[in-house]
Amino acid sequence: MTRSFTLRTALLASVLSVFLLHTAHAASQSGNGHAVSFSAEQVAHGAQIYAGACAMCHGADLEGGHDVPDLSTYFTARWANTPIDQLAGYISRAMPLMAPGTLPPQDTAALVAFLLHQNGVVSATDAPLPMEEARLAKLRFPAPSASSAAATKP
């Protein structure tokens, strides 16, 4: 009885979470969906892509500038709790600005992994971040916790 109740609740919760994932900007309390995982290889590959295609405008330290969005504190605030497929989709469609649409899916996923890592997100497992839109749609960009937001890089 208890067991089937739990199962039912879990099922309902997962159905609900799928529903919520399709409602952009649901409140952060609605949960972060599945835990986000990415591999160390992706982070390393993402760092290479970033240095070659992104750093020229967004800065070596993701700091951005007056006319260029940062990819650090303001960035995490803008994307917090947003399904990650939207971020990956944005990068693949719009970036890099001088040659949009030129990054293959594995490079886009690696860049997302790199951005998550640089912004203090700890990967849940060693599993790589998926490239498929449908799977990314189940993941949300983690909201910075109050403690990590307060901590600043040296």
């Binding site: 409602t23 007056h66 006319d67 944005y90 600005l97 001088m98």
Partner: protein, 416 residues
């Protein structure tokens, strides 16, 4: 009227404009003019200190160009009535009030009292103010405010038909729409002239040349048939494809005057002077924001990631003013970037004029001396087309500054 017609092609194109600063008709025009300023009445020209080591800032803009002209239709998306107002090419500032007037008309026709405006560049701001003046409650949703929006990376002068459309793709109907927008905007701008801080102002703009007006180098390069056209390649291929509408409003735009002999204060053989309306970004931008807030407007800083995000806005009517960002945010692949770069040197309030020489333009504004290489490679309207490299190019900036700097090394200030 005749006099204006002779100059129509080169007149209102302004600086972001183009190849149509043709001199071809000027000898006749000079005769037709029959007047220049009286000797001794030419304002004394203070030299511009155009040196690369004076650069304060380099701005890069991506003009949101659509071959068919700006997108101004109404669409129903995510349960909202969406009125589009984007894609004004190099004419966004100049046409802003007229475009806003049309967009707000569509919004008002829904009889809703509350409207959302997406974006706070010059199109978003003027749309929001126009909506308030029509009695609507307005909330602006935007990622950035001036001076971070792409709008402030323009040169800020009256260029109402600069990269606004391709003649063939826009069709004859758009010429009429353009004329309405241009006239409405021009009249609205007059309301901001002479105010404290000079948000909107005029400069004498000197168009200079070493060669005769009818010399070969002033004739636009013939279209290269081998390159095709937008119709055959999906991208504009030559200057002649770009629409010119300036002659439609030549009855209200001050005409150029040729400066002959002693009336020409510059070390070049040929000079023409045209009053040019300019926008001083700082004072004008702050003034518009103040007016918006004073009228009870609200600004929400927010980034939208997909059109479905509109669903959770409380307003049922949305005026969509994202500028170049529409390419991604509204997936409008018809938007073609046209790169332009301006560099800014310290203000010279003692030298309040503008000039164009060898493909470089200078406008002395309240927030700095603007220098732009608008056509240093002889590409005309094609300069920057398809280029979305939104990163400052210092070498390009220095080349443009050198053109103006060289002019003034040869300049002999008048006595008295």
């Amino acid at each position: 009227m005749k006099r204006r017609d002779l100059f129509a092609a080169s007149l209102a194109a302004g600086i972001m404009g183009s190849t149509r600063r043709g001199w071809a008709a000027t000898p006749d025009a000079a005769a037709a003019l029959g007047r220049t300023a009286l000797h001794g009445t030419i304002p004394r020209i203070v030299p511009i200190r155009a040196h690369a080591d004076q650069i304060m800032d380099i701005k890069v803009c991506l003009r949101p160009f659509r071959p068919a002209g700006p997108r101004m239709d109404v669409e129903h998306v995510a349960g909202k009535t969406v009125v589009h107002n984007y894609g004004h090419g190099g004419s966004g500032w100049s046409l802003s009030w007229g475009a806003a007037y049309m967009a707000v008309g569509h919004a008002a026709a829904t009889l809703e009292r509350k409207v959302a405006v997406i974006g706070c560049g010059i199109i978003g701001l003027t749309s929001a103010l126009t909506a308030q003046r029509a009695g609507l409650d307005v909330t602006i949703y935007t990622r950035d405010l001036l001076p971070h929006t792409r709008s402030v990376r323009a040169n800020g002068s009256w260029t109402p038909d600069s990269r606004i459309a391709l003649t063939q793709q826009a069709g004859p109907e758009f010429a009429r729409t353009w004329e309405k927008m241009a006239r409405y905007s021009w009249q609205t701008y007059r309301d901001y002239l002479g105010m404290p801080g000079n948000p909107i102002d005029f400069r004498d703009n000197y168009t200079l040349s070493d060669t005769a007006p009818d010399a070969a180098d002033h004739v636009p390069a013939p279209a290269d048939a081998a390159k095709g056209s937008f119709a055959t390649t999906g991208m504009p291929q030559n200057s002649a494809e770009f629409a010119e509408y300036a002659s439609l409003i030549s009855d209200i735009i001050p005409a150029p005057e040729l400066l002959a002999g002693a009336d020409n204060p510059f070390p070049v053989a040929y000079a023409r002077r045209t009053p040019l309306m300019i926008y001083n970004f700082g004072s004008y931008g702050h003034l518009l924001l103040e007016e918006f807030h004073q009228a009870g407007g609200r600004i929400v800083i927010r980034e939208f990631h997909s059109p479905s995000d509109l669903a959770d806005l409380p307003e049922r009517v949305v005026i969509n003013c994202p500028g170049y960002a529409a390419r991604d945010w509204w997936n409008d692949k018809s938007l073609i970037p046209v790169r332009g770069q301006t560099s800014w040197l310290p203000p010279q309030p003692d030298a309040s004029y503008a000039l164009e020489y060898k493909g470089a333009a200078m406008i002395s504004k309240s927030d700095g001396v603007m220098i732009q290489g608008y056509d240093m490679s002889g590409l005309g309207e094609m300069d920057g087309v398809g280029n979305s490299f939104e990163h400052p190019d210092r070498a390009e900036a220095e080349k443009a500054i050198a053109i103006i700097g060289d002019l003034f090394t040869r300049f002999q200030p008048r006595a008295g």
